[in-house]
Structures are given as structure tokens and as C-alpha cells.
């Protein structure tokens, strides 16, 4: 028996050593990445709010995430007295593991995908990341506090509602590919020579809104609305458990941004990948890195201490090396085979960053929705719109097949479909407005039942 088990283990390791390694790497590196996303968010917020943001730890606060992580790790771990210990322990772990598992299905460039070529690709990512809701609901329940429970209920109602809209939006994009496989989806966009965001703009819009709601980001951050519910389902969590939730939230942001990038923004493809006279764009990554490096170099003498100057130099050097790595496949013939992998990875991460930047931008700019408004937006506007859009895209595709349109030509049929969908959206909004005049007296518990 032991022999057999041992053999099975060896067999398993032999077959799956690479994805296992990647998995370990992701689990190890992701907290760091999330930490730096948070730093970027804080810096952006500071910039938009006429202040500086973290400046103390490291030059320009570059070491702040590490300080934060250390602080969170050594904090006292408080479990409320009446909390359900088992569930309280389980909930954050559930939340974060769902988010991390979803990352496995993503393809960061043609070369990097942990779960290679799974047949259900995008469904796997969406489905597994949806499991994170249990972490939220159970965490809220286990804390044995009204605020937490209300946060949890809000959150689950919100996720269930917006998942429908997000799913419908995904379906509209999937209609163009006829496959769920992530690599095949990107390759379809490469073959058509046009990103699906142009073919299905309304679906992209629906997914954008729904993904913000699904990741509980502002203006849909009601489950953790700090001014109403203190911190929603996270109220009673502290230290490491809290940071797990935090990690899950940002990992989820990465997941939804990656799904949107894969389906709508051409995944790892360079903009205009098949237009040869635009091959100049291949130098953009290098240029970007060199600019960052130059900025760091310029700032180096202005750092107050020697350690900080060294650190700044190191960052500049890192960016410079990255720039060279990005340049090599374009100019050096030997490195040509690595072109797809390296540049694919760059463009994918670039697009994901833009998507996340948009999230942050929204968060600093607009106020928060109220719960009934949020539900109304989901059920009365987004879901009907996305369903109608699926129908319209389907009709457009049939028409496209009839006229034998390909690539950019498909725009001829999809644009009218998008315009009709937009008109429908405006009609829905107008109807909402006229109805919004009368006071809405449904009991609050009824929109949970929705």
C-alpha cells in the first residue's frame, strides 16, 4: 500500500511538477504583488487628493507594503468570544483560496498558464472565484455581530445579482469564439485581428460594472461600507485573518481584470498585432521601462539617506534590466523565440493594470450607492441589458455569417447591434426615472429575497 502510494506520488510529481512549482510561486509572490497594488492605489489616491501618501518607509514609501505586512502578521489575533471558532477560522481561508485557485486558470501570455488548456477555461476561472462568497458570508455570520451579518447578507445578495449580468456579458463575448478555452479565445481575437471589446462594447460595459460590483469595490463597496457598517463582514477580523480577506479582495480584482483582458481586450496580444507597419509598438515596453528607470535615477540624489539612494538606484537598475529583457526579443535574432512569451506577458500585465487603475480611479471619484439603488441597478438595468445584448450579438453574428464577414468587417453588423442595445439601455433608464418618482415602499428584506 505504502509502495503504491509512493509510486502514485512520484507519478503525480513527474506529470505535474511545472504547474506545482508555478502554484507555489504564485502563492509566495501574490501577497507581495497585492501589497504593491495597494501602495500604488494609495499613491494614486494621494495624488488625486492633493497630498503625498506613504513617504516614510523607503524612498517614496516603496517599502511600505513590507512594513504593512509585518505589522499585520505580528498583530494580536482576536477571536470574539461568542464567535463560531471553526467557521471564523475557515472563512478567510476559503475566501483567499478561492481567489488563488482562480488564478490557476489564467493565461498570462501564451507561455504562462498553470492549468494548461483546460477545456472549460474561462468557466473555471469564473466559477471558482465565485466560491469566495462563502468566505464572506460565513465570516460575517461567524463573527456574531449585527454589522458583520448585515455586511455578509448585503455582500451575498450583491454577488448573486451581479454574477448573472457578468455571466451574460461573458456569453456575448464567447459567442464570437465558440470555445471556453482561454488560449483559444485569445487566438480567436488574433485571427480576427480585432478585439472583442470593439465587437461587443455593451457586453464589455456590462462586465465592467458587474466586475466592480463583484469585487466589492467602490461605488459598490456596500458590504464593507465603512461609514455605515464599520467594516461589514470584516468588522471583527484583525491581523492576519483580516489581511487574508484583503489579499482575497485584491486577488479577485486581478482575476476579474484578467478575465476582462482575455475576453475583451485581446489577452496578451499587442495592439494591432498583425499590422506590420505598427511593429514600432514593440519598442513601447522598453521605452516605458527606460522612462521609469530614468525617473528613478533623476530622483536618486534627492533622497535623504544613503540607504534610500541605494534603493532608488536598485529600482532604476531593475527597470533598466527589464527594459533590456523586453528589447532583446525584438532586436536580437537568437532571442526571437521568446518574443511571444515575454511581450505577451508584458501586454497582458499592462492591460490588467489599466483595468485595475480604472477601478481605483472610480473609487476616488464617486460616492457610494445605497443598497436598494444598487439592487435596482443590477436587476432593472444591468441584467435586462446584458440579456438583450446577448440576443443582439447572436443576431449580428448570424447576419455576419450570412454576409460572410470577417474581422473588422464584423463591425458592420455588430455596431448596429451595439447601438440598439444602447438605445434599449437609455429606454430602461428613462423608464426607471419616471418610476423612481414614486416612493419605493418595499420592505428591505425583500431585496434580499430577490
Amino acid at each position: 500500500m505504502m509502495q503504491a502510494l509512493f509510486q502514485a506520488t512520484i507519478e503525480f510529481l513527474k506529470a505535474f511538477w511545472a504547474p506545482l512549482l508555478c502554484g507555489v510561486a504564485i502563492v509566495a509572490i501574490l501577497p507581495l504583488i497585492v501589497g504593491y497594488i495597494v501602495l500604488v492605489e494609495r499613491k494614486l489616491m494621494a495624488d488625486m487628493q492633493a497630498r503625498l501618501g506613504p513617504m516614510r518607509v523607503g524612498p517614496h514609501g516603496l517599502l511600505q507594503p513590507i512594513a504593512d505586512a509585518v505589522k499585520l502578521l505580528i498583530k494580536e489575533d482576536i477571536i470574539p468570544d461568542d464567535a463560531d471558532k471553526l467557521v471564523f477560522w475557515l472563512a478567510p481561508v476559503l475566501s483567499v483560496s478561492a481567489a488563488l485557485l482562480a488564478l490557476a486558470g489564467l493565461a498570462i501570455g501564451p507561455a504562462f498558464q498553470i492549468a494548461q488548456d483546460i477545456n472549460i477555461g474561462i468557466l473555471f476561472v469564473v466559477g471558482v472565484s465565485a466560491l469566495g462568497i462563502f468566505g464572506i458570508v460565513l465570516g460575517g455570520w461567524a463573527s456574531n455581530s449585527h454589522y458583520s451579518l448585515m455586511g455578509a447578507l448585503r455582500s451575498s445578495a450583491q454577488l448573486v445579482s451581479y454574477e448573472t449580468a457578468a455571466g451574460m456579458a461573458l456569453v456575448s463575448a464567447l459567442l464570437f469564439t465558440g470555445t471556453l478555452n482561454i488560449k483559444a479565445i485569445v487566438e480567436a481575437q488574433s485571427k480576427e485581428g480585432i478585439w472583442f471589446v470593439l465587437l461587443a462594447p455593451v457586453a464589455f460595459f456590462c462586465y465592467l460594472v458587474a466586475s466592480i460590483a463583484e469585487t466589492n469595490r467602490a461605488p459598490f463597496d456596500l458590504p464593507e461600507a465603512e461609514s455605515e457598517l464599520v467594516a461589514g463582514y470584516m468588522t471583527e477580523f484583525s491581523g492576519f485573518r483580516w489581511s487574508l480577506y484583503f489579499l482575497a479582495e485584491y486577488a479577485n480584482m486581478i482575476v476579474v481584470a484578467s478575465v476582462a483582458t482575455t475576453l475583451f481586450l485581446g489577452g496578451w496580444l499587442r495592439p494591432f498585432a498583425h499590422v506590420s507597419w505598427l511593429n514600432v509598438l514593440d519598442f513601447v515596453p522598453t521605452l516605458l521601462m527606460v522612462i521609469v528607470a530614468a525617473y528613478c535615477l533623476q530622483r536618486t540624489p534627492k533622497q535623504p539617506t544613503r540607504v534610500q539612494q541605494m534603493f532608488m538606484l536598485a529600482v532604476a537598475g531593475l527597470c533598466f534590466v527589464l527594459g533590456i529583457v523586453l528589447l532583446a526579443p525584438v532586436v536580437v535574432p537568437i532571442a526571437k523565440p521568446f518574443y511571444a512569451g515575454i511581450h505577451g506577458g508584458f501586454w497582458f500585465i499592462f492591460k490588467v493594470s489599466l483595468y485595475i487603475y480604472f477601478f481605483m480611479w472610480l473609487r476616488f471619484t464617486i460616492p457610494r450607492y445605497r443598497f436598494d439603488q444598487l439592487m435596482r441597478l443590477g436587476w432593472h438595468f444591468l441584467i435586462p441589458l446584458s440579456i438583450i445584448n446577448v440576443l443582439l450579438v447572436g443576431v449580428a453574428l448570424i447576419a455576419g455569417a450570412y454576409f460572410n464577414l470577417k474581422g473588422w468587417g464584423l463591425l458592420l453588423v455588430t455596431t448596429p447591434a451595439a447601438v440598439i442595445a444602447l438605445v434599449v439601455a437609455l429606454l430602461i433608464l428613462a423608464a426607471e426615472k419616471s418610476r423612481g418618482a414614486r416612493p419605493d415602499q418595499t420592505a428591505a428584506s425583500d431585496f434580499y429575497a430577490g
Binding site: M150, S227, E228, F364, P367, R370
Partner: protein, 365 residues
């Protein structure tokens, strides 16, 4: 959650958006509020009783600690009340400077309200913009009297300090900058769909209700009652300046927001008018070192940023007041909270607490 009996939630005293240590006991049906009870007194310091054991001058700094975000206004009310009791008048120069500082304080107080109110509703950024401008005002205060928050800027009978050299220039520069800054806040909020959705029709207080509750200040004016003590019973130097009293129509949170925004504009105009022509002359009336008002009683009210702040002072002819009663606007305005909040959602409770603009130091005294 689904039980037939309602869910009771204690909001506060430790809660990020009760603006201090207000505790609200909310009876909820799901998320809908069916009843509320404000439990106050966590910050009670017995200010009125302290007054009976201090001389008139000694008590003046205490009133700054009530509405600590609008200390200048509270101080002005107290000083003028005692002046009324003493039957003296502050010299014209002192009155104009008092007017300027009080109007600056009104802007500062409204800015703080705007920032925190927007933060309660989920807009993060206006807070920092508001604090940026408030900082300028506080700098002017600091230059004038050395303190930023609890200023104790005025003395009974006039002013202790002459305006500093750059006073007029500072105020003018602030007023110049502020014109464009207020447009910034408006672009962030006034036409924002979500902002309108969150504030319009929320916490409606009709004019009749507002009067019945004794509500004053912007809350009253937003309900459509044109009542402003600056116009009705002018004090300081307000009778010399031209300004409008903005009023709302429906008395909802959005109207209160608009009214306060407009009030900031008007305050700016008053400041500009005032620095044009600051009379010269003494800044202190002739009052003795020891104040012994004749026996009698007096009530004097001024328009503080949050509403009518009134002082009822009884003197028995000694150096200490026999009784001081304070009518704090926050406390009275808070009475209307239950009426405003019923039937709304938990999220609206936060918006309504914000829109009343309470300071717990003043509510509890």
C-alpha cells in the same frame, strides 16, 4: 433577521460616522429604520455648571470647547451676550474684525461638514480638498491669535489683539482662491448621479416640522423658512453688508447641501465686503478689569454655522454669573433626527446624521 420582532442595532458610540460619540439605537425591519433613539451625554462636561463658578472672563474659553469646529462663533455669542448684560458696545473696528473671523469660521465649519458628509456617503476625495481650504482659514486664525481650533479670539468688550499686518491680504487671498475651489467641490458632487440619488428625497423635514422642532440654521433654511439671525436681528457688523439668505424648497438632504454650499459663497462675499473697509480706531471698549454686571438677565443669540446659538445669562451683581444657559444648535437640531430618519435605510441614517451637522461637544456640553 427575519423574525417578527425588529432588529435593534446600536450605532455608536464607537462608530466611524456618528461624528463623535453619538449613540443611535436603531430599530430596523430588515434594513429599513422603523424607529430611532439618540442616546447622548457621553461628552457631558457640565459646562453650564462650570460657568457658575468662574468669573465672566474666565468662562469665555469654555464656550470654545462646545462647538470645537466653530469656536469663534461660540465665542462671539458669549462675548456679545455679556456685553449686552454690561450695556457696553464693542468699537466698530472690533465688530468688523469679529464679523470677518466669524464668517471665515462659518466657511471652515461648512467645509468640515462637507468633507465628512461626503465621506459618509462614500466620496473619499472631497474631504481632502475641503481640509486643504480649511487649513488656510486655520492658518489665518493662528496668525491672528495663535490658536487654530479653540481660538478664544474675542474678549468681552472687543478684541485683545490687533489684526496682524497681513490680515487683510491673507483674507483676500483666501477669498480669491476659494471661488474656484468651491466650483471644484460642486463638479465632484452637485451633478453626480449617485450623489443626487443618495441625497435627494432623503431625510425630508417640512417647514412646519422644522419650526415645531425648533430647528435652526441651514437645516431650517433648507426646509424653506427664510430665517437668519444675521438679517433678523443683526449683530456685530452684519447690518453693513449685503448678502443673500439661501433657502431650499423640499428640505431634503440635497437641499441642505445646496444651502450650505451657497452659504459658503455668501460668507466669502461678506468677507470680501468687510476687508474693503475696516474702520480704524480702538479695538476694546472701556470695561474694567473686574466685570460686575448689574443684576438682571439677558438672552442673546447669534447665527452660528450650525444654527442659532443662544446664551441666557443671569447676573446677581457679583463677578460670577448666577446662571448661564446655552441653547446649542446641534442639540436642538438633533431632535428632528427621528422624524427625518423613519422609513429610510441604514445607509440613509449616516447621510442624515451628516446632514444635520452635529458636533457632540455642543450636543452634550
Amino acid at each position: 433577521m427575519l423574525g417578527a420582532d425588529e432588529l435593534v442595532i446600536n450605532m455608536g458610540p464607537q462608530h466611524p460616522s456618528t461624528h463623535g460619540v453619538l449613540r443611535v439605537k436603531l430599530k430596523l425591519d430588515g434594513e429599513r429604520v422603523i424607529g430611532s433613539e439618540c442616546i447622548i451625554g457621553y461628552l457631558h462636561r457640565g459646562v453650564e455648571k462650570i460657568a457658575e463658578n468662574r468669573t465672566y472672563q474666565q468662562f469665555a474659553p469654555y464656550v470654545d470647547r462646545m462647538d470645537y469646529v466653530a469656536a469663534v462663533s461660540s465665542g462671539l455669542g458669549y462675548c456679545e451676550a455679556i456685553e449686552k448684560l454690561l450695556i457696553v458696545e464693542a468699537p466698530p473696528r472690533a465688530r468688523v474684525i469679529r464679523t470677518i473671523l466669524t464668517e471665515l469660521q462659518r466657511i471652515a465649519s461648512h467645509l468640515l461638514w462637507l468633507g465628512t458628509h461626503a465621506l459618509d456617503i462614500g466620496a473619499l476625495t472631497p474631504l481632502f480638498y475641503c481640509f486643504r481650504e480649511r487649513e488656510e482659514i486655520l492658518k489665518i486664525f493662528e496668525k491672528y491669535c495663535g490658536a487654530r481650533l479653540t481660538t478664544h479670539a474675542f474678549r468681552i468688550g472687543g478684541l485683545q489683539y490687533e489684526a496682524h499686518d497681513t490680515f487683510e491680504k491673507d483674507v483676500e487671498r483666501f477669498c480669491k482662491d476659494f471661488e474656484s475651489r468651491i466650483v471644484e467641490y460642486e463638479t465632484l458632487l452637485t451633478q453626480n448621479r449617485i450623489w443626487i440619488g443618495r441625497t435627494k428625497g432623503v431625510g425630508i423635514l417640512t417647514a412646519a416640522d422644522a419650526i415645531a422642532f425648533g430647528v435652526t440654521g441651514p437645516v431650517l433654511r433648507a426646509s424653506g423658512v427664510k430665517w437668519d439671525i444675521r438679517k433678523a436681528m443683526p449683530y456685530a457688523a452684519y447690518d453693513q453688508y449685503k448678502f443673500e439668505i439661501p433657502v431650499g424648497t423640499t428640505g431634503d438632504t440635497y437641499d441642505r447641501y445646496l444651502v450650505r454650499m451657497e452659504e459658503m459663497r455668501q460668507s466669502r462675499l461678506i468677507c470680501l465686503q468687510a476687508i474693503e473697509n475696516i474702520p480704524t480706531g480702538p479695538i476694546m471698549a472701556k470695561v474694567g478689569k473686574v466685570l460686575k454686571p448689574p443684576p438682571g438677565e439677558v438672552y442673546h443669540a447669534i447665527e452660528a454655522p450650525k444654527g442659532e446659538i443662544g446664551y441666557y445669562v443671569v447676573s446677581d451683581g457679583t463677578v460670577m454669573p448666577y446662571r448661564v444657559h446655552i441653547r446649542p444648535p446641534s442639540f436642538i437640531n438633533l431632535q428632528a433626527f427621528d422624524r427625518m430618519v423613519r422609513g429610510h435605510l441604514v445607509a440613509d441614517v449616516v447621510a442624515i446624521i451628516g446632514t444635520i451637522d452635529i458636533v457632540l461637544g455642543e450636543v452634550d456640553r
